[in-house]
């Protein structure tokens, strides 16, 4: 049997077990290339036709000290033969490249799960660094698991010998050894990975070669070592026919913005300042200059949003991307956009807070900031994405509202969506929503003397949107600013009644968007008295939990909000249909607070603030608890 052809997948000598789903976590040092390994495994699985979901998890340091807990970087991927919503609560398989990786991740592993360790790394020094007093491989502490000790480092060095690479360099290929081994275990096709290695490392042929050799060695090790009882297969999912790609939330947002620019026929202008986990949107958009996309890495967040606002005044689709610490810095400028009523899209990829917090971890604690975080009465629409691929549509929706209503819009995503991936069936371009962004080019009023004039605050009676006349348009010269404006001239006005009128009109404009967004849909169940209401990235976990609860005979309804401000018009009615509403959120209860204030409904938060997405089981437990409390209330 030769390595390198698809014949490798024919593992005649080992029995092949079929699984419907498996959750694998690759864990190692920051420098061990675990993100790359996980990404690669994901890609072949996607090509293979599995449904999948991923969860990268890495430290805030670029490369924290080797061997320490702080330096552990992990990538979890779940592959399945059916539609899945989350990267899985607990891994079935943990690949641990060193003791620290084992220690940091063991607690999450399914009991009875499988551990593949790089036994070469379990030396005294690394054990101490990881804080182990005894070697876990020998002290029986792993008794509840199936442990495979694989000398990954030495086998990699051995495999790479033909390349002549120095051991220090060759050793770096050991993640490909691990990838090869896991690829064998789950009967992944290998050709694609070998091609990918060749292309990716084309500039450093020695590295390419040693990675390929390590990969093959890992694969063959699985095949030939007597260690493993069997290999597994996870059959392809039934997908609707179409072209699929595996997409992360940040890429989806970037592409959504490019698409929105095309749909609205507006050039995209991104003013941004790098910040984790939002920077990748800047990186991605920077590549697409042929779409007329201008990206500017500004001196800070204030300048980023300022430049976007300046571009919006000039008739561009002004966008700024950031995370929490950047949102607060941008708030003053966002308030100016509220006051001037110019379209602007602010994208907040939420991360753990407060302050610098947990910059590489996920959280949903900027919702109230988005809705209320500006001085004065400065309402604006807020939209949230729920899955990585939904980020594409959420970005288009944010743009649609911004340009139609001439208002800043905040789009919320989070670190989990940003870096997580899922297979996405590419939409047909002609099916994407239309976005109308007409510029005003003619005077829209007359002055006292009957001369035609431009009234920048003469609104569309339907949308309450003001006209958008851009510099370069003769005859419509006008000035706008942050002082209160007289309706409809836009001249400065300190008139008390005008101020109240303008404050209420701006609020009415935003509230009126409720008429223009879809009603919230309920995934209802006959007889359900409990509604699980969610927003943002909890979608997957809630869905999985609800499915599991129903499978367990519980009656539960589920609804998920894309629009947080204004709420869909039917939300109050929906909430009133249930005896109990729970709101799982990665915060201390922000949507629940908004819903309580708005509808006087006793919505109860189910909070998790750990920098990690909910496990479906956690939400399931909350569902059970809510149902029990309803029952005991009924009994009482």
């Amino acid at each position: 049997m030769t390595v390198g052809g698809n014949s490798l997948t024919d593992t005649a000598e080992h029995p092949l077990q079929t699984l419907d789903r498996v959750v694998i976590r690759f864990a190692g040092d920051s420098g061990d290339g675990m993100q790359l390994t996980g990404d690669r495994f994901t890609s072949v699985s996607a090509l293979f036709g599995n449904d999948l979901s991923t969860l990268p998890d890495y430290p805030a340091e670029i490369r924290a000290p080797a061997g320490t807990l702080a330096g552990v970087s992990a990538f979890q991927v779940s592959i399945a033969d059916h539609d899945i919503l989350t990267p899985g609560d607990a891994p079935n398989v943990l690949v641990a490249m060193n003791p620290a990786a084992l220690k940091a991740n063991l607690k999450d592993l399914l009991s009875g799960g499988t551990i593949l360790v790089n036994v070469d790394a379990f030396d005294e020094r690394n054990l101490v660094k990881a804080g182990y007093e005894a070697n876990p491989l020998t002290d029986d502490s792993l008794a509840g698991y199936t442990v495979y000790e694989v000398p990954m480092t030495s086998l990699t060095l051995e495999a790479a010998k033909p390349t002549g690479a120095k051991p220090r360099d060759a050793e770096r290929s050991k993640n490909f050894f691990a990838l090869g081994l896991v690829s064998w275990m789950y009967t992944r096709p290998v050709e694609d990975t070998l091609q990918w290695i060749a292309a990716r490392f084309a500039k450093t042929p020695t590295v390419a070669e040693s990675n390929a050799l390590a990969f093959k060695a890992g694969y063959n090790f699985g095949e030939t070592a007597e260690l493993f009882d069997s290999a597994y297969e996870v059959k392809p999912t039934h997908f609707d026919p179409g072209t699929y790609t595996n997409i992360s939330g940040n890429t989806a947002i970037a592409w959504g913005l490019v698409a929105a620019g095309q749909l609205a026929n507006l050039p995209v202008f991104l003013g941004s300042y790098p910040i984790t986990p939002a920077s990748d949107i800047l990186h991605e958009l920077s590549k697409h200059k042929n779409f007329g996309v201008r990206t500017m890495q500004a001196e800070d967040e204030i300048a980023g949003v300022g430049a976007a606002l300046g571009a919006a005044f000039g008739g561009h689709l002004g966008v700024t991307t950031t995370s929490g610490p950047g949102v607060v810095l941008k708030s003053e400028t966002i308030g100016l956009a509220v006051s001037m009523e110019l379209p602007l899209v602010i994208i907040d990829i939420q991360r753990g807070g407060p302050s610098t917090g947990l910059p590489t971890k996920t959280e949903q604690a900027d919702l109230l900031l988005a809705v209320y975080g500006r001085h004065g009465e400065s309402p604006l629409p807020v939209v949230a994405a729920k899955t990585p691929s939904d980020c594409f549509f959420a970005a288009i929706e944010a743009v649609r509202i911004a340009v139609k209503y001439r208002t800043p819009v905040i789009l919320l995503s989070d670190g989990y969506l940003a870096n997580g991936t899922e297979p996405w069936r590419l939409p047909a371009v002609e099916d994407l929503p239309e976005i109308s962004a007409p510029f005003t080019t003619e005077p829209n009023g007359t002055d006292a003397a009957g001369n035609p004039v431009y009234l920048p605050f003469l609104r569309d009676p339907e949308t309450l949107a003001r006209p958008w006349a851009v510099p370069g348009t003769p005859g419509l010269e006008h000035r706008i600013g942050g002082l209160e404006k007289s309706d409809p001239t836009g001249n400065i006005s300190y008139d008390p009644a005008n101020h109240e009128h303008m404050v209420r009109t701006r609020a009415a404009k935003v509230a009126g968007i409720a008429k223009d967004i879809p009603p919230v849909e309920v995934d209802d169940q006959e007889g359900a008295e409990l509604l699980v209401l969610g927003w943002g990235s909890t979608y997957g976990s809630i869905g999985a939990a609800v499915a599991a609860a129903r499978a367990g005979g519980r009656k539960v309804a589920q609804a998920h909000l894309t629009h947080l401000s204004p709420f869909p018009a039917n939300l109050g009615e929906v909430l009133s249909r249930y005896r109990r509403v729970i709101v799982p959120e990665m915060n201390l209860g922000q949507l629940s607070r908004m819903v309580r204030a708005e509808f006087l409904v006793d919505a109860r938060a189910v909070s998790k603030v750990q920098g990690q997405p909910f496990k479906a089981s956690e939400i399931q437990a909350a569902i059970d608890e809510a149902l029990e409390s309803l029952q005991s209330e009924a009994r009482a």
Partner: protein, 338 residues
């Protein structure tokens, strides 16, 4: 915009809004100078935008019958950068004050300068916060007694031109509110400059800092106290040109009597010198508006503008990869068919 704009008059450039500065404020004469200059520039009102921050000076855009934005405190250079990059066809002016531009907005200003964004930036320096009723500013002299410094300020002031040169500015000039001709000429040069043109205007705030520049700008003092810079000419001043500026071999600049040293010993002003060292030295000649102080264009050199280069990258990308094709973008990752 190479076409010829239709002729206009000052009135065409004046908006219908009442000017709301204090009577006697130096801002009026600056407004007049700009409104009188515009008809001479062969530009169109609809292609002209004034962007300002907050302050008395920042009310300026309301009085220009052009597009305009009265933004928020200190952020005008950032906002104008976005506009200028998005719309290279426009003429974008930034109006700011010593507080707006050098205190809260200092960072945006220096970054706009280093990037060489195509902006004409007028900084109204009255050495005071006017709009908030008289606190000291980053250009106020040490010891200044104001509402916030009843015992005198203790901060050493910025020299706006030194700061601009330290921030890699390509065009740096100074003028004052009592000389309309000089203002118009300086603004014209700034407007002609491709890239970020920075002009400091000594401006009298007659309510909170009256007479701040009187020692050098009052009619009778000018010839003694203002050192006009002219490109290619030895730097001389005084009623009869009897004073000049010379440098020694160790890089010390000094004011000299021409009679003592001879005209050949004088520095010949060279605004086009690639290195800003000389211009910087000239900004250091005077330590406040009570010593002989150079005015005019200190530096005017060419460097590609930020906006042009961004534009060039767009065009390059389009000629390389063709105009964007959305369907192609969506399938640009690794895809598979089901």
């Amino acid at each position: 915009m190479t076409d010829v704009a239709p002729p206009t008059t000052k009135k065409d450039w004046s908006s219908d809004q009442e000017v709301r500065w204090c009577p006697g404020c130096g801002d009026y004469s600056i407004l007049t100078a700009v409104q009188m200059l515009m008809p001479e520039l062969n530009v169109r009102r609809e292609n002209t935008v004034f962007v300002s921050g907050i302050g008395c000076s920042s009310r300026f855009p309301y009085y220009m019958n052009t597009y305009g934005m009265h933004s928020i405190h200190g952020r005008a250079p950032a906002i104008a950068t976005g506009l200028a990059v998005a719309r290279p066809d426009l003429d974008v002016w930034v109006i700011t004050g010593d507080g707006d531009g050098l205190s809260i907005g200092g960072n945006h200003l220096i970054h706009a300068l280093r990037r060489n964004v195509n902006l004409t930036i007028l900084l109204f320096n009255n050495q005071i916060y006017g709009l908030t009723k008289g606190q000291y500013s980053p250009t106020s002299e040490v010891g200044k007694v104001t509402k916030s410094t009843p015992f005198g300020s203790v901060d050493w002031p910025f020299n706006p031109l030194s700061l601009a040169l330290g921030a890699e500015a390509t065009f740096v000039a100074r003028t004052h509110d009592l000389d309309r001709k000089h203002m118009m000429e300086t603004f014209r040069r700034a407007h002609e400059h491709k890239g970020a043109a920075f002009v400091e205007i000594f401006q009298n705030c007659n309510v909170f800092n009256d007479g701040a520049f009187e020692q050098i700008t009052a009619k009778d003092n000018r010839s003694h106290m203002l050192i006009p810079l002219e490109h290619g000419r030895p730097i001389r001043f005084g009623p009869d040109g009897e004073k000049g500026v010379a440098l020694d071999g160790q890089g010390r600049a000094a004011i000299v009597n021409v009679a003592d040293v001879g005209e050949d010993a004088l520095v010949v002003h060279d605004e086009k010198r690639p290195e800003p060292g000389l211009a910087f030295m000239l900004t250091r000649l005077s330590h406040g508006p009570y010593e002989p102080t150079p005015i005019g264009v200190f530096r005017a050199v060419e460097r590609p503008t930020y906006g042009d280069q961004i534009q060039r990258q767009l065009l390059d990308a389009q000629s390389r990869s063709g105009p964007g094709d959305l369907a192609k973008l969506l399938s640009s990752g690794s895809t598979w068919e089901v």
